[in-house]
């Protein structure tokens, strides 16, 4: 079988010296946070925690888009689905997230028209094919997804598709990093910065954050060797006492990122204070559709009644999302909250920290003993 691109970075010969270097260098206990959900999954899938020395503790941060989406936003999505004459289109991993009294999956089973799409442009096509119905796309994600969704709104305008609407619950990463550093309950010695988000933002977006907090930061790719190399650089910075904003994912991330994608995003969206689940309101951390594009803004066009949202009682997703607790420390984990019956979003999302612990953590008891 031919070697393909990702295989190179999974090559044990590439990883072994990195693991060795980390082991030799690491002299004191450190908490490193991977901010991105895709990193969390990759770390678990490849058994990276298992090969690191005990001094290094990896914390999973608020980087799973589904997980940080606040409960009132989930409830609003469900309310859109219940509106007459409406088709709701969504990325797949939102389907099972429990709202206050339902989920999109349950609404679909109850007969609402909810369709999984792979891109906002698929939703736009559905809108063109159903001119007599409103098609709401649920915009969830970080700076990685926001530009494409902005582009779909511009396309809807250019192609005159008035029944295409976006419910924007987008979040941005740099304000969340700042909120984590300002949070007394969290102790972080270094950040593995997200790969995909940084492809769009570039290293420049983190400079104000780094200048202010002087905490070690390394942008990482997603393959085992990428992540190990980033961890090695973080440990080196910490051990030497010289924090840096570094880039270990140069094959994809540059200083300026993707200015074209950023320009489209900024044309359509504007920053707004937004609630992250577990963290609360973070100033300027959300993306709202600008008034010039209000015709495509579901929040403007579809008045909905959302009853007061309730967080699931006993659920520790909030603490888990900021690295203040690990899933086994939540009293619902594995006992009440499982992937079959998720109580909080960190268990339901494929990138959620609880789902990762549940599925991959070999320290937890086997299914046969449950």
């Amino acid at each position: 079988m031919p070697l393909h691109h990702q295989d190179e970075y999974r090559d044990p010969d590439l990883s072994r010296p990195l693991i060795e270097a980390i082991r030799q260098m690491s002299s004191r206990p450190v908490h490193l946070m991977e901010v991105c959900g895709t990193h969390t999954m990759s770390i678990f899938r490849h058994g990276i925690r298992d090969v690191l020395p005990e001094t290094i503790r990896l914390l999973s941060g608020p980087g799973c888009p589904v997980c940080v989406t606040a409960q009132p936003e989930i409830d609003a999505f469900i309310a859109y689905a219940r509106e007459e004459g409406t088709i709701v289109t969504t990325f797949g991993d939102l389907m099972r997230v429990p709202g206050t009294d339902s989920s999109l999956r349950k609404e679909k089973a109850a007969g609402r028209d909810i369709r999984i799409v792979y891109s906002a442009f698929d939703a736009l096509k559905i809108a063109q094919a159903n001119p007599d119905r409103r098609v709401v796309f649920l915009g969830v994600g970080f700076e990685t997804t926001a530009p494409t969704i902005a582009a779909s709104i511009l396309a809807a305008r250019d192609m005159h598709v008035p029944n295409f609407l976006v419910a924007s619950a987008h979040k941005t990463v740099p304000p969340a990093l700042q909120a984590l550093m300002d949070n007394d309950r969290v102790q972080i010695n270094g950040f593995l910065l997200p790969g995909h988000v940084s492809v769009i933002l570039g290293l420049q977006a983190y400079r104000p954050f780094f200048d202010r907090y002087q905490v070690p930061c390394v942008v990482a790719g997603f393959e085992p060797a990428d992540i190990l190399e980033a961890i090695r650089r973080l440990v080196a910075q910490i051990e030497s006492g010289r924090p840096q904003l570094d880039n270990a994912y140069r094959r994809a991330v540059g200083e300026d990122g993707n200015p074209k994608a950023r320009a489209i995003m900024e044309q359509v969206f504007e920053p707004v204070d937004a609630a992250f689940r577990g963290i609360g309101i973070i100033p300027g951390s959300g993306l709202r559709i600008r008034p010039a594009y209000a015709a495509y803004d579901a929040a403007v066009q579809i008045p909905i009644q959302v009853p007061p949202s309730k967080e699931p009682p006993g659920c520790d997703c909030g603490n888990i999302l900021i690295g203040a607790k690990t899933p086994p420390e939540c009293r619902l984990f594995r006992k009440v909250c499982t992937p079959e019956n998720p109580i909080g979003p960190c268990m339901v999302s494929s990138e959620g920290t609880c789902a990762a612990y549940y599925r991959f953590d070999s320290a937890s008891p086997p299914a046969a003993e449950k």
Binding site: D11, R105, P366
Partner: protein
Amino acid sequence: MTSDVITLDHGSGGKIAHRLTAELLLPLFDNPVLSDLHDGAVLTLNGGTRIAFSTDTFTVTPLFFPGGDIGELAVNGTVNDVAMCGATPLYLSLALIIEEGFPMPDLKRILQSIHRAAEAAGVMVVTGDTKVVPKGAADGVFINTSGIGIIPDNVSIGSTAAQPGDKIILSGTMADHGMTILTQREGLTFESDLQSDSAPLNGMVAKILTASNNVHVLRDPTRGGVGTTLNEIAESSRIGIVLQENTLPIRPAVAGVCELLGFDPLYVANEGKLLAFVAAHDADAVLKAIQSDAFGREACFIGEVTADHPGRVVLETRIGGRRIVDMLTGEQLPRIC
């Protein structure tokens, strides 16, 4: 049941589907044959002849896809379930549920395909039924097939028979069928050259059973994929399984699409692959036998059975870490970004 209605997760082949079986079906119908929960039932007739009996219903969108169609799938799926009991499949029933308005040329094409697949697998369609339902009451056509096969005297294959020390063989690449169907579905716009692996495996099973009397388990990892099937075997045989990540066979194009959508190929359906658990001293012979079959050329060892951690499947990753391979929960859903 935590859900008061049926969702698509109940049909995924994963944990939620298992719970439906365990909580609703088994309490009502439990008997020693059913409780094995193997791909097919093994029945002993008066006189001692053992037969394998299996049924499966096929619903797939689109009906025609690269590498096959619903007709071929309906034959191969049941043939394979019967073959996984160690049986020689002989007879099939064929029941069609057709939606009003379904194009006649498409039906003819599906029937031709059923005919070809039955010939290729050496089975006869011996009874059948056709129902037509009003438009909207079915999606095009649904097909049910049941199959009967005879188990040779010296053969004993079951999902509870895996032994510590067994080598595990996978007969070819993972996830081809599931990812082909997914990329063909409406709404998924990227191009790919994926092909379903739909194939009859009874010929391969015959070769395996000729090569060794020490084959303990045969299973075809369809819905739920290799990961879920291995968990089922680990649970019912009360053994642990250790997989080597670097040996898991997957086509680069399939791996690429999985990566893009956040799917784990270990949980994606196959329609022409089998898992064989074989005593170590016969493992090489069985691997050769599988590789000598047209549908098994890319067969390889993927792991082995251990007495440690019963009920659990553990993967040794390329970089030397270990992680669990759990059973699939519900349908895999494409992720954000």
